[in-house]
């Protein structure tokens, strides 16, 4: 076992669940693309909704000065 090998799974991820992810991703890709287009169209007309939830985005900024969560 090399230093960077992955620990063997201690639970069964389910083969079906591993295979299906390709299809899930394809459907998600199409959906995200169309959402993105809609968003751009709406922004162009200035009607895109503003979001201000603490969970507004999945992405964590690498910027260390900013807390992810404004509640702190």
């Amino acid at each position: 076992m090399s230093n960077f090998s992955v620990i063997l799974l201690y639970f069964d991820p389910g083969l079906g669940a591993m295979i299906v992810q390709g299809l899930v991703a394809a459907a998600a890709g199409i959906l995200l693309f169309s959402k993105n287009v809609m968003y751009k169209v709406k922004s162009f007309f200035g009607i895109a909704p503003k979001e201000e939830d603490t969970f507004d985005s999945i992405d964590i900024e690498d910027d260390e000065t900013q807390e992810n969560d404004s509640k702190k």
Partner: protein, 462 residues
Amino acid sequence: MIPKNSTHQASFRDPSGYMFHDGTTLRRAVNPIYFPQYEKLKSSGFFDTVIKKGLLIPHEETSVSEEQIILTPEPIPFITQPYEWSFEQYKHAALLTLQIHKYALSKGFILKDATSYNVTFHKGKAVFIDTLSFDFYEENTPWRAYKQFITHFFGPLILAKYHGTDIFKMMQTHIDGIPVKLIASLLPKKTKFSSTLFTNIHLLAKMESKHSEDYKAETKVAKLSRKAQNNILDSLFGYIKDLKVNEATEWGNYYDKTNYDSESFQAKKGLIREWVMDLKAKNLIDVGGNDGTFARTVSDQLEHVMVTDIDPNAVEYNYYQTKQNKETNMLPFVCDVLQPAPGIGFNNTERSSLIQRLKEYAPDVTMALALIHHVTLSGNVPFEKSAEFFAKFAGHLIIEFPKREDSWVTSLLVRKREFINHFDFYNQDGFEQGYQNYFDIVKSQPIAGTQRVLYLMKRKTA
């Protein structure tokens, strides 16, 4: 070496390490099998960032040897379980899990498991508590915790959308999450027309049953690009973020419906504050505390406050206020006093019962306001029995007794119809007698303008 009997009851599934009790301190041991991952997570600054962002519970490295690394995580006063969360809490736990996995992926790691027990609520918000849940990402591999995420988070949330948050209680009977097939069968047919629900649930259920007996298939390795995996995460995140549950709400106007005027409301608040401050209490639980209105009259004096209610909407509203006010010492959760969460999982100890957790939490003050008439008259629980329940964890008990003349009590009694005589025991004497089996009455005070009496009791020393 750590004596085996001090290991945490829930900590045995992952060979990477385990939690153990060192006296009263909970620590985490890291096994050599996980050293490479741990070192990389630490040296790359991954731990630093996710801790700084408040996503992962902070920890200190206590000792390092060739056999073991010992970490001491920041103590969490009380762990709530997924079946005790309101909808918004459940949602935030799910979103946090996706956030943390996506960030890990961008740094060459993955979340290797995505159970809902890896998240709890601390300092007013969801936090990830399993420090060893990360592993190296291998390029072009699918997310192996994907199914777990569906059975622990996405499935329960979607089911709650259609059937109400009571569905979260199914997590009590399915410690590994609600089986995908079951989720699919409980969803309305129209969900097949949503591309997100069709692929993530119905198609997944189909693929799972198709491949369930395909034991030799390990050689067939499914591939998935990093970009594709990010698409799955982004779309799940977006979908969950917009999820709403439609349940009749009571909390909005609960205090308008109560039968006392604002003067007696203030009188009750004043009494509670005075008594709690006299006790110099540090932590408190308000059982049946609705949206936390009364707990908030003293929360500024306390280190930690918990408010539980049977009504998920009240808990939801409390959680909402906690976030709005940026309160860090308030923990709302759902609990039915007549059926508190049992101990579940292996040995029935993997996830401990509510009573067990409350014993360990050992609140200085337990409040039960406007609760006893429901427990006694709706739940048919004799006074002695409810006193026994409170005595299991309550040192001091502030309990409100509405007399027979109180309009709520009258209405509950009327509903007993021809059995109304069976409830003749419901009176102040009967109440005091029942509770004196377990408690000494320190003081009692009628609440001005009401038919209610507030008691302060102290548990008898056995």
